[in-house]
Symmetry: C2
Subunit: 423 residues, 2 copies
């Protein structure tokens, strides 16, 4: 079956050379190669007539409520899984601990496969169906892979996932349970990535790669649309997002710009992008104003351990447009922020997501963010996805004999260590 | 600060001797001891005047929308975490695989700490605050513990969790990250349970034990209230729930009865209770009509591996009242259902939750549930909580050399194994 094209999409525009292309099944710019990331263009004047406050009131609470702002055909069936509409929590105790007047957490770990990546994968599977594929593939060991496996299962697509041989067993398990065919490539992540790209061409599979696929980032954009939609008159001064490839912050920034253009808000929040000290190529490019220099990543926050980010231009463009800033945090600061966020706000996030809390704290200390401002931090994934990092942050259990005397003796020690562990 | 009592609660009634008590800080019936589970009583005539269809339309989507039907003071502050309002998915491919006309899944793994237990813990922490405690405790290694730790963190209560020494490290990590004090008791689960009860008395801590605490099951009830609220005119013929202690199915059944009594539905769905073959004391009591005989549990579905269930009377009462039934499933059937549910519906549930899918399939095969009926299965927890069981169900990755020729040779084998792995 042939689907009509997305109603409000006018074309695809290259971030490097500025060329525009007709809407269609494309990855990167034919002139610029893999550097030429394409951005989906919309007819905002037409959208402004259809997409209004009132039209949102009666729509279901998931990210398809922004359907006209997504590059999907109006005639395609949506997956059943409820993607998006993740909660925003006002977290006063954590706010005090990081030193800011008001702090919100948006817990995107509550998506169907427990990460923000479901926003992108849900678009990916629909594009695959629209373009006539029955199989979709990606190279990843992380949230992108489990999300693709889950959304493929929900929509009946076959999925192939390429992982490096050293991929951790728990993450591979999540892929297999969803019925993905998991290929452990005897080599590095880059070899798995290259083999996936080659296989997509050779076997006519759709390539779900957020970096190079122009449509997936539009799914991530819905986190930005949602923040404006949910916060209404309490839109925070800053929105803080961890940065790996650059897609997520780039997408969220685009969402803000669109909501402003469509009259849902008069101002867009400023973006604070946070990278790990050991994986900071976008911070370096942001500060130097020069082209990105790839590097070898070293951080425990695996979802943002990206040495060769593809979407750095999009990320930097959005941060500059919002008068935003960037900062880096050490792994130790991430672990401390994991404790603080779990203990003071009841949210257990994965290290990459929580890096943004650490970044906000540091930005306040450095005066980048003022203590009388407000901020919203996007928690990009559930901490259950990476128990081994959490273990480093968590502390230790206390061993006691099974009687009340033993407990009574232990209690004074416990009270002391509890006081020490509160920040 | 003293809180006024919950507005519509009239008292507490013992399941064994039928005595009623004034509302207050009680656990079990003083005459019947630990067997005397108490049931919270409400003034439904008064409720019927306040709690109407229209009043729900403009309430937030979480389980506090049923606030008048919960035993909490109208003046207490609610935790920020969004508990409940978990999605219900129509799952036609899984329906075909289990042999029923229409099948819905309610994914309660999407609660804040990833299980249905958040519904109960959120009530537990509020009761602790209302009764003036600053510390709350429980004995558990499972969802009840992580949920209590998370909700305590969100509300600023101190939590003590007693676990047997052999408790698995990943589960202990989730407790520690939330700042719970975890006490590894050198002994069995029963010794940890007893020490916790003793400690609550000795140190004036509130006891969060779903089995004996009369208020917690009211939180689980909200899953039943929600099913009626969400399904509206498409209320399924059957609601299928896995059964360990009996609290969850008992609570859900109570929710249905209340929604019927308050005029939200004309009929309550029939309850199908599912236990593991190796932990079936409630099934035996249900079939024999005699009192429950405790036994040693053996099943991989740890959340329902309960040999001495406390709330069996409540569970059986609700199943009988709904003209329901019970069934048992083998661990192998649970693992098969985990694969089916993940692959055909995109939902990765923990074994205990998925046991209900296996039970439904068997009940259809045995003619208990008819193939032209409809059913809703409650998935009680996220599969990420128990990766080791999922691993048994998941299958294997395929190792390949990093080149397209190796992949081409592997593909025919893969296609074959994929066909075989589809149910």
């Amino acid at each position: 079956m042939a689907f009509p094209p997305p109603k409000f999409v006018t074309g695809l525009k290259c971030f490097v050379c500025g060329s525009t292309y007709q809407y269609g099944n494309m990855m990167t710019c034919p002139s610029c190669g893999i550097q030429g990331i394409l951005d989906v263009q919309y007819d905002y004047d037409a959208l402004a007539r259809y997409f209004k406050h009132e039209s949102l009131n009666h729509r279901p609470l998931d990210h398809w409520r922004y359907r006209e702002l997504l590059p999907i055909s109006s005639e395609i069936s949506l997956p059943n899984l409820q993607v998006g509409s993740t909660p925003v929590y006002d977290s006063p105790r954590l706010a005090r601990a990081v030193g800011i007047g008001q702090l919100f957490l948006k817990d995107d770990g509550r998506n169907p496969t427990s990460s923000l990546k479901d926003r992108a994968s849900s678009i990916g599977v629909l594009k695959a169906i629209e373009f006539g594929y029955t199989t979709i593939a990606c190279a990843s060991t992380g949230n992108a892979a489990s999300s693709l496996a889950g959304l493929s299962a929900a929509t009946g697509l076959q999925s192939f996932i390429f992982v490096p041989e050293r991929a951790p067993e728990p993450k591979v398990t999540q892929l297999l349970i969803f019925g993905a065919t998991v290929l452990k490539v005897k080599g590095t992540y880059e070899q798995a990535f290259d083999l996936c790209r080659e296989a997509c061409v050779e076997f006519n599979w759709y390539n779900r790669n957020s970096g190079t696929n122009p449509f997936l980032v539009e799914g991530k954009k819905t986190a930005g649309l949602e923040i404006v939609d949910q916060c209404k008159d309490h839109l925070p001064d800053w929105v803080v997002v961890s940065v790996g490839d650059g897609c997520t912050i780039g997408g969220i920034g685009k969402g803000f710009q669109e909501m402003k253009r469509l009259g849902f808000t008069e101002r867009a929040p400023r973006l604070l992008g946070v990278q790990a000290e050991g994986a900071r190529p976008i911070v370096d490019a942001f500060c130097s104003g020069k082209d990105l220099v790839p590097s070898e990543p070293h951080t425990l926050a695996d979802s943002i351990a990206v040495g060769t980010p593809r979407n750095w231009r999009r990320a930097i463009q959005q941060m500059k447009a919002s008068s935003g800033d960037m900062i880096t945090v050490a792994d130790e600061e991430i672990l401390e922020a994991m404790r603080m966020t779990a203990r003071l706000a009841g949210v257990f996030g994965e290290p990459a997501g929580i890096a943004a809390v650490a970044g906000l704290k540091k930005a306040i200390e450095q005066g980048i963010v003022k203590s009388n401002e407000s901020a919203l931090v996007v928690i990009t994934g559930n901490g259950l996805k990476d128990i081994s990092s959490a273990k480093q942050a968590a502390g230790e259990a206390l061993h006691i004999e099974p009687n009340i005397d033993a407990l009574s003796h232990a209690l004074p020690v416990l009270s002391m260590s509890n006081v020490l562990s509160q920040s």
